[in-house]
Symmetry: C2
Subunit: 215 residues, 2 copies
Protein backbone atom coordinates (compact mmCIF):
# COMPACT_ATOMS: atom_id res chain seq x y z
CA UNK A 1 0.00 0.00 0.00
CA UNK A 2 1.13 3.58 -0.59
CA UNK A 3 1.49 5.11 2.86
CA UNK A 4 2.47 8.60 3.96
CA UNK A 5 4.08 9.00 7.35
CA UNK A 6 3.87 12.63 8.41
CA UNK A 7 6.63 13.49 10.85
CA UNK A 8 10.36 12.82 10.90
CA UNK A 9 10.81 12.30 14.64
CA UNK A 10 11.43 9.06 16.48
CA UNK A 11 7.82 7.89 16.20
CA UNK A 12 7.62 8.70 12.50
CA UNK A 13 10.93 7.00 11.77
CA UNK A 14 9.92 3.89 13.72
CA UNK A 15 6.55 3.53 11.98
CA UNK A 16 7.89 4.37 8.53
CA UNK A 17 10.67 1.80 8.86
CA UNK A 18 8.28 -0.91 10.03
CA UNK A 19 5.86 -0.17 7.19
CA UNK A 20 8.69 -0.23 4.63
CA UNK A 21 9.92 -3.53 6.07
CA UNK A 22 6.44 -4.93 5.57
CA UNK A 23 6.63 -4.04 1.87
CA UNK A 24 4.62 -0.83 1.78
CA UNK A 25 5.65 2.11 -0.41
CA UNK A 26 6.32 4.70 2.26
CA UNK A 27 6.80 8.41 1.78
CA UNK A 28 7.99 10.38 4.77
CA UNK A 29 6.42 13.83 4.82
CA UNK A 30 7.87 16.92 6.41
CA UNK A 31 7.45 20.66 6.27
CA UNK A 32 10.00 21.16 3.53
CA UNK A 33 10.89 19.02 0.53
CA UNK A 34 14.57 18.90 1.48
CA UNK A 35 14.30 17.84 5.13
CA UNK A 36 17.56 16.14 6.04
CA UNK A 37 16.06 13.49 8.35
CA UNK A 38 13.42 12.53 5.81
CA UNK A 39 15.97 12.35 2.99
CA UNK A 40 18.26 10.18 5.10
CA UNK A 41 15.39 7.91 6.15
CA UNK A 42 14.33 7.47 2.52
CA UNK A 43 17.88 6.66 1.44
CA UNK A 44 18.32 4.14 4.26
CA UNK A 45 15.00 2.39 3.78
CA UNK A 46 14.24 2.49 0.08
CA UNK A 47 11.44 4.96 0.67
CA UNK A 48 10.50 8.36 -0.62
CA UNK A 49 10.25 11.77 1.01
CA UNK A 50 8.55 15.06 0.31
CA UNK A 51 6.41 17.81 1.73
CA UNK A 52 3.37 16.93 3.84
CA UNK A 53 1.23 17.67 0.75
CA UNK A 54 3.44 15.54 -1.54
CA UNK A 55 3.39 12.61 0.86
CA UNK A 56 -0.32 12.71 1.69
CA UNK A 57 -1.35 13.41 -1.89
CA UNK A 58 0.37 10.31 -3.22
CA UNK A 59 -0.76 8.01 -0.41
CA UNK A 60 -3.70 5.68 0.06
CA UNK A 61 -3.30 5.80 3.84
CA UNK A 62 -1.77 8.55 6.00
CA UNK A 63 -0.11 8.30 9.43
CA UNK A 64 0.04 11.41 11.60
CA UNK A 65 3.22 10.98 13.63
CA UNK A 66 3.77 14.65 14.31
CA UNK A 67 3.70 16.26 17.73
CA UNK A 68 0.12 16.85 18.78
CA UNK A 69 0.62 20.56 19.30
CA UNK A 70 1.42 21.02 15.59
CA UNK A 71 -0.75 18.28 14.07
CA UNK A 72 -3.57 20.56 12.98
CA UNK A 73 -1.13 22.84 11.18
CA UNK A 74 0.55 19.83 9.60
CA UNK A 75 -2.71 18.47 8.22
CA UNK A 76 -3.63 21.94 6.96
CA UNK A 77 -0.27 21.99 5.15
CA UNK A 78 -1.04 18.56 3.69
CA UNK A 79 -4.37 19.93 2.53
CA UNK A 80 -7.93 18.67 2.56
CA UNK A 81 -7.70 17.51 -1.06
CA UNK A 82 -4.77 15.23 -0.23
CA UNK A 83 -6.56 13.77 2.78
CA UNK A 84 -10.12 13.42 1.44
CA UNK A 85 -11.63 9.95 1.81
CA UNK A 86 -8.40 8.47 3.16
CA UNK A 87 -7.80 6.60 6.38
CA UNK A 88 -5.62 8.68 8.67
CA UNK A 89 -3.98 6.93 11.62
CA UNK A 90 -3.45 9.46 14.38
CA UNK A 91 -0.77 8.38 16.86
CA UNK A 92 -0.09 11.86 18.21
CA UNK A 93 -0.32 13.24 21.73
CA UNK A 94 -0.69 16.94 22.50
CA UNK A 95 1.57 17.52 25.48
CA UNK A 96 2.38 21.01 26.68
CA UNK A 97 5.66 21.05 28.61
CA UNK A 98 5.74 24.84 28.90
CA UNK A 99 5.18 24.61 32.66
CA UNK A 100 7.67 21.75 33.04
CA UNK A 101 6.97 18.25 34.20
CA UNK A 102 4.36 16.81 34.35
CA UNK A 103 3.14 18.20 31.03
CA UNK A 104 -0.42 19.25 30.54
CA UNK A 105 -2.47 17.23 28.04
CA UNK A 106 -4.05 19.72 25.67
CA UNK A 107 -7.71 18.89 25.15
CA UNK A 108 -9.08 21.09 22.36
CA UNK A 109 -12.64 22.27 23.09
CA UNK A 110 -12.64 19.96 26.12
CA UNK A 111 -12.38 16.97 23.80
CA UNK A 112 -9.48 15.24 22.11
CA UNK A 113 -6.91 16.23 19.54
CA UNK A 114 -8.25 13.47 17.29
CA UNK A 115 -11.72 15.02 17.31
CA UNK A 116 -10.25 18.43 16.58
CA UNK A 117 -8.52 16.98 13.52
CA UNK A 118 -11.69 15.14 12.48
CA UNK A 119 -13.72 18.34 12.73
CA UNK A 120 -11.22 20.18 10.55
CA UNK A 121 -11.13 17.33 7.99
CA UNK A 122 -14.61 15.78 8.08
CA UNK A 123 -14.05 13.72 4.93
CA UNK A 124 -10.92 12.05 6.30
CA UNK A 125 -11.45 8.77 8.13
CA UNK A 126 -9.46 9.28 11.31
CA UNK A 127 -8.55 6.37 13.56
CA UNK A 128 -6.73 7.05 16.80
CA UNK A 129 -4.43 4.25 17.88
CA UNK A 130 -0.94 3.39 19.18
CA UNK A 131 -0.75 6.68 21.11
CA UNK A 132 -0.55 4.98 24.51
CA UNK A 133 2.87 3.36 24.33
CA UNK A 134 6.52 3.72 23.45
CA UNK A 135 7.23 3.62 19.72
CA UNK A 136 9.34 0.47 20.12
CA UNK A 137 6.27 -1.36 21.40
CA UNK A 138 4.00 0.04 18.68
CA UNK A 139 5.78 -1.89 15.95
CA UNK A 140 6.95 -4.90 17.98
CA UNK A 141 4.37 -5.73 20.65
CA UNK A 142 6.19 -8.93 21.64
CA UNK A 143 8.80 -6.74 23.35
CA UNK A 144 6.30 -6.67 26.23
CA UNK A 145 5.50 -10.16 27.51
CA UNK A 146 2.02 -11.63 27.83
CA UNK A 147 -1.23 -9.81 27.38
CA UNK A 148 -1.30 -6.05 26.84
CA UNK A 149 -3.45 -3.74 24.77
CA UNK A 150 -3.66 -1.33 21.91
CA UNK A 151 -6.79 0.80 21.61
CA UNK A 152 -8.78 1.93 18.59
CA UNK A 153 -11.08 4.96 18.37
CA UNK A 154 -12.86 6.14 15.25
CA UNK A 155 -16.17 6.96 13.62
CA UNK A 156 -15.70 4.77 10.51
CA UNK A 157 -15.99 1.03 11.12
CA UNK A 158 -14.33 0.11 7.83
CA UNK A 159 -11.41 2.39 8.60
CA UNK A 160 -11.01 0.81 12.02
CA UNK A 161 -11.06 -2.66 10.46
CA UNK A 162 -8.35 -1.61 8.02
CA UNK A 163 -6.22 -0.20 10.81
CA UNK A 164 -6.74 -3.32 12.92
CA UNK A 165 -5.42 -5.39 9.99
CA UNK A 166 -2.36 -3.16 9.81
CA UNK A 167 -1.85 -3.59 13.56
CA UNK A 168 -2.04 -7.37 13.15
CA UNK A 169 0.68 -7.11 10.50
CA UNK A 170 2.79 -5.35 13.17
CA UNK A 171 2.35 -8.38 15.42
CA UNK A 172 -0.67 -7.39 17.49
CA UNK A 173 -3.06 -10.29 18.16
CA UNK A 174 -6.76 -9.64 17.66
CA UNK A 175 -7.30 -10.20 21.38
CA UNK A 176 -4.92 -7.34 22.14
CA UNK A 177 -6.77 -4.83 19.96
CA UNK A 178 -9.57 -3.13 21.90
CA UNK A 179 -12.05 -0.98 19.99
CA UNK A 180 -13.18 1.70 22.44
CA UNK A 181 -15.86 3.15 20.17
CA UNK A 182 -16.26 6.35 18.21
CA UNK A 183 -13.61 9.03 17.98
CA UNK A 184 -14.70 10.71 21.21
CA UNK A 185 -13.13 7.73 22.98
CA UNK A 186 -9.76 9.13 21.91
CA UNK A 187 -10.22 11.46 24.90
CA UNK A 188 -9.67 8.45 27.11
CA UNK A 189 -6.45 7.30 25.46
CA UNK A 190 -5.01 10.79 25.03
CA UNK A 191 -5.44 11.26 28.78
CA UNK A 192 -3.39 8.12 29.44
CA UNK A 193 -0.17 9.93 28.61
CA UNK A 194 0.31 11.41 32.11
CA UNK A 195 0.18 7.89 33.57
CA UNK A 196 2.57 6.64 30.90
CA UNK A 197 5.03 9.40 31.82
CA UNK A 198 4.77 8.60 35.54
CA UNK A 199 5.27 4.90 34.89
CA UNK A 200 8.29 5.77 32.76
CA UNK A 201 9.59 7.66 35.79
CA UNK A 202 9.08 4.60 38.00
CA UNK A 203 10.11 1.83 35.61
CA UNK A 204 12.82 3.62 33.66
CA UNK A 205 13.66 3.05 30.02
CA UNK A 206 12.19 -0.41 29.64
CA UNK A 207 9.46 -1.55 27.29
CA UNK A 208 6.11 -1.56 29.05
CA UNK A 209 2.46 -1.21 28.27
CA UNK A 210 -1.00 -1.16 29.80
CA UNK A 211 -3.07 -4.32 29.91
CA UNK A 212 -6.77 -4.53 30.59
CA UNK A 213 -7.48 -7.54 32.79
CA UNK A 214 -11.08 -8.69 33.18
CA UNK A 215 -12.63 -11.40 35.29
CA UNK B 1 -7.62 1.35 64.15
CA UNK B 2 -10.27 4.10 64.41
CA UNK B 3 -11.19 4.96 60.84
CA UNK B 4 -13.63 7.51 59.43
CA UNK B 5 -15.16 6.82 56.06
CA UNK B 6 -16.60 10.03 54.66
CA UNK B 7 -19.38 9.33 52.20
CA UNK B 8 -22.40 7.03 52.29
CA UNK B 9 -22.47 6.03 48.62
CA UNK B 10 -21.53 2.70 47.13
CA UNK B 11 -17.78 3.32 47.45
CA UNK B 12 -18.05 4.47 51.03
CA UNK B 13 -20.26 1.55 52.01
CA UNK B 14 -17.91 -0.94 50.35
CA UNK B 15 -14.78 0.42 52.02
CA UNK B 16 -16.44 0.89 55.41
CA UNK B 17 -17.74 -2.67 55.39
CA UNK B 18 -14.36 -4.10 54.42
CA UNK B 19 -12.61 -2.10 57.12
CA UNK B 20 -15.16 -3.18 59.74
CA UNK B 21 -14.74 -6.81 58.65
CA UNK B 22 -11.01 -6.43 59.20
CA UNK B 23 -11.67 -5.38 62.79
CA UNK B 24 -11.32 -1.62 62.55
CA UNK B 25 -13.61 0.74 64.47
CA UNK B 26 -15.33 2.47 61.58
CA UNK B 27 -17.45 5.60 61.71
CA UNK B 28 -19.33 6.54 58.57
CA UNK B 29 -19.48 10.28 58.16
CA UNK B 30 -22.14 12.21 56.31
CA UNK B 31 -23.46 15.75 56.07
CA UNK B 32 -26.02 15.30 58.82
CA UNK B 33 -25.93 13.26 62.02
CA UNK B 34 -29.14 11.41 61.16
CA UNK B 35 -28.31 10.26 57.64
CA UNK B 36 -30.44 7.17 56.96
CA UNK B 37 -27.85 5.29 54.88
CA UNK B 38 -25.12 5.87 57.46
CA UNK B 39 -27.39 4.82 60.32
CA UNK B 40 -28.39 1.66 58.47
CA UNK B 41 -24.79 0.85 57.59
CA UNK B 42 -23.73 1.30 61.23
CA UNK B 43 -26.56 -0.94 62.45
CA UNK B 44 -25.75 -3.64 59.90
CA UNK B 45 -21.99 -3.63 60.46
CA UNK B 46 -21.46 -2.85 64.12
CA UNK B 47 -20.05 0.55 63.24
CA UNK B 48 -20.79 4.12 64.18
CA UNK B 49 -22.06 7.09 62.23
CA UNK B 50 -22.06 10.83 62.58
CA UNK B 51 -21.35 14.11 60.85
CA UNK B 52 -18.20 14.53 58.79
CA UNK B 53 -16.71 16.43 61.75
CA UNK B 54 -17.77 13.75 64.27
CA UNK B 55 -16.34 10.96 62.15
CA UNK B 56 -13.06 12.64 61.24
CA UNK B 57 -12.53 14.06 64.71
CA UNK B 58 -12.68 10.66 66.37
CA UNK B 59 -10.57 8.88 63.75
CA UNK B 60 -6.89 8.06 63.47
CA UNK B 61 -7.21 7.65 59.69
CA UNK B 62 -9.76 9.20 57.32
CA UNK B 63 -11.04 7.91 53.98
CA UNK B 64 -12.54 10.39 51.51
CA UNK B 65 -15.13 8.37 49.60
CA UNK B 66 -17.28 11.32 48.59
CA UNK B 67 -17.85 12.44 45.02
CA UNK B 68 -14.91 14.49 43.85
CA UNK B 69 -17.02 17.51 43.00
CA UNK B 70 -18.04 17.92 46.65
CA UNK B 71 -14.90 16.60 48.39
CA UNK B 72 -13.43 20.00 49.19
CA UNK B 73 -16.70 21.10 50.83
CA UNK B 74 -16.86 17.81 52.72
CA UNK B 75 -13.36 18.23 54.14
CA UNK B 76 -14.16 21.82 55.04
CA UNK B 77 -17.20 20.52 56.92
CA UNK B 78 -15.00 17.97 58.67
CA UNK B 79 -12.69 20.80 59.62
CA UNK B 80 -8.94 21.29 59.63
CA UNK B 81 -8.70 20.49 63.35
CA UNK B 82 -10.27 17.08 62.80
CA UNK B 83 -7.93 16.30 59.91
CA UNK B 84 -4.64 17.72 61.20
CA UNK B 85 -1.73 15.28 61.15
CA UNK B 86 -3.88 12.40 59.98
CA UNK B 87 -3.50 10.17 56.99
CA UNK B 88 -6.34 10.81 54.56
CA UNK B 89 -6.92 8.24 51.83
CA UNK B 90 -8.49 9.97 48.86
CA UNK B 91 -10.32 7.58 46.54
CA UNK B 92 -12.48 10.23 44.89
CA UNK B 93 -12.82 11.22 41.26
CA UNK B 94 -14.13 14.60 40.13
CA UNK B 95 -16.34 13.81 37.16
CA UNK B 96 -18.63 16.41 35.66
CA UNK B 97 -21.52 14.77 33.79
CA UNK B 98 -23.30 18.07 33.15
CA UNK B 99 -22.62 17.78 29.43
CA UNK B 100 -23.54 14.06 29.36
CA UNK B 101 -21.28 11.18 28.53
CA UNK B 102 -18.33 11.05 28.48
CA UNK B 103 -17.94 13.16 31.62
CA UNK B 104 -15.25 15.74 31.92
CA UNK B 105 -12.56 15.13 34.54
CA UNK B 106 -12.34 18.29 36.62
CA UNK B 107 -8.71 19.24 37.15
CA UNK B 108 -8.53 22.09 39.69
CA UNK B 109 -5.89 24.68 38.76
CA UNK B 110 -4.78 22.34 35.97
CA UNK B 111 -3.70 19.79 38.57
CA UNK B 112 -5.56 17.11 40.48
CA UNK B 113 -8.33 17.07 43.00
CA UNK B 114 -5.96 15.44 45.47
CA UNK B 115 -3.55 18.38 45.22
CA UNK B 116 -6.44 20.81 45.67
CA UNK B 117 -7.40 19.03 48.89
CA UNK B 118 -3.76 18.93 50.04
CA UNK B 119 -3.40 22.66 49.42
CA UNK B 120 -6.51 23.36 51.49
CA UNK B 121 -5.35 21.02 54.30
CA UNK B 122 -1.56 21.23 54.28
CA UNK B 123 -1.19 19.43 57.63
CA UNK B 124 -3.19 16.42 56.49
CA UNK B 125 -1.21 13.57 54.97
CA UNK B 126 -3.14 12.83 51.79
CA UNK B 127 -2.57 9.62 49.85
CA UNK B 128 -4.41 9.10 46.59
CA UNK B 129 -5.18 5.47 45.83
CA UNK B 130 -7.87 3.01 44.70
CA UNK B 131 -9.47 5.66 42.47
CA UNK B 132 -8.80 3.74 39.25
CA UNK B 133 -11.12 0.76 39.67
CA UNK B 134 -14.57 -0.47 40.59
CA UNK B 135 -15.24 -0.53 44.33
CA UNK B 136 -15.69 -4.32 44.28
CA UNK B 137 -12.09 -4.69 43.11
CA UNK B 138 -10.77 -2.15 45.63
CA UNK B 139 -11.54 -4.42 48.57
CA UNK B 140 -11.17 -7.81 46.87
CA UNK B 141 -8.45 -7.62 44.22
CA UNK B 142 -8.59 -11.37 43.59
CA UNK B 143 -11.86 -10.77 41.73
CA UNK B 144 -9.61 -9.85 38.80
CA UNK B 145 -7.29 -12.71 37.84
CA UNK B 146 -3.54 -12.47 37.59
CA UNK B 147 -1.45 -9.34 37.79
CA UNK B 148 -3.10 -5.92 37.96
CA UNK B 149 -2.27 -2.71 39.76
CA UNK B 150 -3.25 -0.20 42.37
CA UNK B 151 -1.42 3.14 42.40
CA UNK B 152 -0.22 5.33 45.26
CA UNK B 153 0.45 9.08 45.14
CA UNK B 154 1.41 11.21 48.10
CA UNK B 155 3.96 13.59 49.56
CA UNK B 156 4.47 11.73 52.87
CA UNK B 157 6.43 8.48 52.61
CA UNK B 158 5.29 7.23 56.02
CA UNK B 159 1.67 7.86 55.11
CA UNK B 160 2.10 5.94 51.85
CA UNK B 161 3.69 3.04 53.72
CA UNK B 162 0.75 2.98 56.13
CA UNK B 163 -1.74 3.01 53.25
CA UNK B 164 0.20 0.27 51.45
CA UNK B 165 -0.11 -1.88 54.58
CA UNK B 166 -3.85 -1.27 54.61
CA UNK B 167 -4.03 -2.24 50.94
CA UNK B 168 -2.16 -5.46 51.71
CA UNK B 169 -4.75 -6.20 54.39
CA UNK B 170 -7.38 -5.86 51.61
CA UNK B 171 -5.55 -8.56 49.64
CA UNK B 172 -3.26 -6.51 47.42
CA UNK B 173 0.17 -8.05 46.96
CA UNK B 174 3.18 -5.77 47.31
CA UNK B 175 3.99 -6.38 43.65
CA UNK B 176 0.60 -4.98 42.67
CA UNK B 177 1.06 -1.70 44.57
CA UNK B 178 2.84 0.89 42.42
CA UNK B 179 4.03 4.08 44.06
CA UNK B 180 3.88 6.75 41.35
CA UNK B 181 5.55 9.45 43.41
CA UNK B 182 4.41 12.65 45.05
CA UNK B 183 0.83 13.85 45.09
CA UNK B 184 1.12 15.54 41.69
CA UNK B 185 1.12 12.02 40.24
CA UNK B 186 -2.54 11.85 41.25
CA UNK B 187 -3.11 13.83 38.06
CA UNK B 188 -2.20 10.69 36.13
CA UNK B 189 -4.58 8.38 37.96
CA UNK B 190 -7.46 10.86 38.09
CA UNK B 191 -7.19 11.12 34.31
CA UNK B 192 -7.58 7.34 33.99
CA UNK B 193 -11.30 7.54 34.74
CA UNK B 194 -12.32 8.33 31.12
CA UNK B 195 -10.56 5.13 29.99
CA UNK B 196 -12.20 3.19 32.81
CA UNK B 197 -15.62 4.44 31.70
CA UNK B 198 -14.95 3.49 28.07
CA UNK B 199 -13.73 0.05 29.08
CA UNK B 200 -16.87 -0.36 31.18
CA UNK B 201 -18.80 0.44 28.01
CA UNK B 202 -16.91 -2.24 26.10
CA UNK B 203 -16.63 -4.95 28.77
CA UNK B 204 -19.90 -4.39 30.59
CA UNK B 205 -20.48 -4.95 34.29
CA UNK B 206 -17.59 -7.31 34.96
CA UNK B 207 -14.70 -6.84 37.33
CA UNK B 208 -11.68 -5.52 35.51
CA UNK B 209 -8.60 -3.47 36.17
CA UNK B 210 -5.52 -2.00 34.57
CA UNK B 211 -2.24 -3.88 34.70
CA UNK B 212 1.18 -2.45 33.97
CA UNK B 213 3.22 -5.00 32.05
CA UNK B 214 6.94 -4.44 31.69
CA UNK B 215 9.62 -6.32 29.80
Amino acid sequence: MKIAVLGTGEVGQRLATKLATLGHEVTMGSRTADNAEARQWAADNGGAHGTFADAAGAAELVVNATGGLVSLAVLEAAGADSLRGKVLIDVSNALDFSDGFPPRVVTPDGGSLAEQLQKAFPETRIVKTLNTMNNTVMVEPSRVPGHHNVFLSGNDEHAKAEVAALLRSFGWASTQITDLGDLSSARATELLMPLWLRLYGVLGPVDFNISVVAA
